[in-house]
């Protein structure tokens, strides 16, 4: 009897084939694949994604409209993410996971704040809200051509009282200004039962501050350098927490006591660097 005959070893790479590539913006693509496990991960969970010959990266697991499928939505950035960005239909990548905990989804009036590919876990979160929830989605981007998932968010919320707000730094689309200013405004104006955020750390930091200081339940999904994804290598530590294992999702209460959140992260050598 061998246990790996009974179930897939989630810490060993499984190869999947990219079946569809969707251009979201000039620098962001969604790669769709079939798999038995990834379509059903919890909102907030991620996978380690192997781009053979290039690198292996943590990626939030994106939803797909087709059942039995999941996706990754990647922004091309450095060598590794550009490698993934360039994967073509029919090519293979490796995946392991899912890893990390999930958002604790409250009921009532919810606020989701996402920036860039931080929107990925937000989209999956939207598939878990109750139809009675009143959901505000706040999408931040630098400029108009970096906005994506607006239609998807509206689509997923079609049966809910909802509001999808876009803000761009340069005002080329939606509201002008930093997304965190809008967060501050929103939480000032009305009570939220839950605030969820994923994106650039400074954005998350301010969002958590705005909500937590008002006693609103808030959760952020942290991004850190991740090598193993399973709590072995230590590269993802944030204070005494390991982002991959204790998180990636932490609530405001916990984060407010963490001295590194919002200020420091560690580089590939493990050296603390300012954000």
């Amino acid at each position: 009897m061998r246990w790996w005959d009974l179930q897939r070893n989630s810490n060993h790479t499984t190869i999947v084939t990219i079946e569809k590539v969707i251009d979201e913006t000039p620098t962001v693509r969604t790669l769709v694949f079939s798999d038995s496990i990834m379509p059903n991960v919890l909102p907030g969970q991620f996978a380690m994604v192997w781009i053979p010959g290039i690198n292996e990266l943590p990626m939030s697991v994106m939803i797909s409209k087709e059942s039995g499928k999941a996706a990754f939505t990647v922004r091309k950035h450095g060598l590794a993410s550009t490698g993934l960005f360039n994967i073509k239909v029919g090519e293979k990548i490796g995946i392991r996971g899912p890893y990390g905990n999930a958002f604790d989804i409250k009921q009532g009036k919810l606020l989701l704040v996402g920036g860039g590919t931080g929107l990925v876990p937000m989209m999956r979160l939207l598939t878990h809200v109750k139809s009675t929830d009143d959901v505000t989605v706040l999408i931040g981007a630098k400029s108009k051509d970096e906005v994506f998932f607006e239609d998807l968010a509206n689509d997923l919320l079609q049966n809910n009282p909802h509001n999808v707000i876009i803000s761009t730094d340069d005002g080329s689309y939606g509201e002008k200004g930093f997304v965190t200013d809008i967060v501050e405004k929103l939480v000032n104006e009305s009570h939220f039962d839950g605030v969820y955020t994923c994106g650039p750390e400074k954005m998350m930091y301010k969002t958590v501050q705005s909500a937590h200081s008002r006693g609103i339940f808030v959760q952020a999904s942290l991004e850190r350098m991740m090598k193993c994804g399973v709590g072995i290598c230590g590269s993802c530590c944030v204070g005494e927490d390991l982002a991959c294992k204790d998180g990636t999702i932490f609530d405001g209460n916990h984060l407010s006591k963490n001295n590194e959140f919002g200020y420091f992260h560690r580089n590939k050598a493990g050296i603390l660097e300012d954000y």
Partner: protein
């Protein structure tokens, strides 16, 4: 009388025999504190070099179908001086600082960085199986081992431990030279050089191709090394390799280890593994009427 979990590895005294192995979660003082509170007797740092190292690109770690973990992290580390700064304010945690280098002077320089730190011991990593010029290439060179250990012993009064592994020479010879050069204790063993190939893409999975196998698969190998060392030499031993349960811990004590290190078990069972092992060991000691770990050490040698 309640049995006691405290143990001594030569001059090193610990409250619990189960320590964190080098390279596992070992880069932040906050995490060290957390592990100490979880029942670790000591934590060994990631192996430090003079300069910071980024390590190899990913994939660097994955689990093997059939058990165990494979890694080729490439000794990524923040460098001795950054690390020393970080642990300057350490008060509580017994920290064992692991060092890698390719010449005696490397070790001497690094040890100086820790002059103002509360360090329990230095562990000399002579056995990393997947990084050239340091690690096993050092451990497999008897002259170099002798010079490094001698230099380290001349540089500090803090106890020094040599970590050995299976290389291309007889590790027992490395142990002997380390002992003759004044080493205070031996950690056995490091990961075992290994490989995995993905049949779909037909390429080695690790970016470095070769890596080190750790976890349950290597336990029987590590245990025989501890037994062999204990049978041949009179030196305090720290057992390491595939230990994940209290029974494993006891096996290593019986073979001759005064303490153990846990690495992969943390990937398998997370950090409560320290507490689980401590509790199991205590239970066993009660049942067998031992009051100290020391009473068990090496009992299997008489057969």
């Amino acid at each position: 009388m309640e049995p006691s979990l405290s143990t001594s590895i030569g001059k090193i005294e610990l409250n619990s025999p189960a320590m964190l192995a080098s390279g596992i979660l070992g880069i932040s003082l906050d995490v060290f504190n957390r592990l100490y509170r979880s029942g670790a007797g000591a934590v060994v740092s990631k192996s430090l070099s003079i300069e910071p190292w980024e390590g190899y690109p990913n994939p660097t770690i994955f689990s093997v179908n059939g058990g165990g973990w494979m890694n080729a992290v490439g000794l990524s580390n923040p460098g001795a001086s950054n690390f020393a700064k970080m642990i300057e304010h350490n008060q509580d945690v017994p920290i064992i600082v692991s060092l890698v280098g390719s010449i005696p002077e490397d070790f001497e320089m690094m040890i100086k960085e820790f002059t103002n730190c509360n360090v329990t011991a230095f562990e000399l990593n002579l056995s990393c199986p997947h990084v050239a010029k340091v690690g096993l290439e050092v451990g497999d060179d008897p002259e170099l081992v002798k010079k490094i250990v001698t230099t380290v012993k001349n540089s500090t009064s803090i106890p020094a431990i040599a970590k050995v592994g299976l290389g291309t020479t007889d590790y027992l010879n490395t142990v002997k030279i380390a002992i003759d050069s004044g080493i205070d204790a031996i950690t056995a063993i490091n990961t075992v050089r290994a490989m995995a190939i993905d049949v779909e893409t037909q390429r080695p999975i690790l970016s470095n191709k070769f890596g080190g196998l750790s976890g349950t698969p290597i336990k029987p190998i590590a245990l025989r090394c501890v037994y062999e060392i204990a049978s041949k030499y009179d030196v305090p031993i720290i057992g390491c390799g595939g230990i994940s349960t209290w029974e494993d811990a006891i096996e290593f004590f019986l073979a001759g280890a005064s303490a153990i290190q846990l690495g992969s078990a943390i990937g398998d069972n997370w950090i409560n593994v320290f507490d689980d092992i401590n509790k199991g060991v205590l239970q066993y000691m009660k049942q067998k009427n031992y009051s100290t770990i020391d009473e068990m050490v090496g009992l299997a040698k008489k057969f």
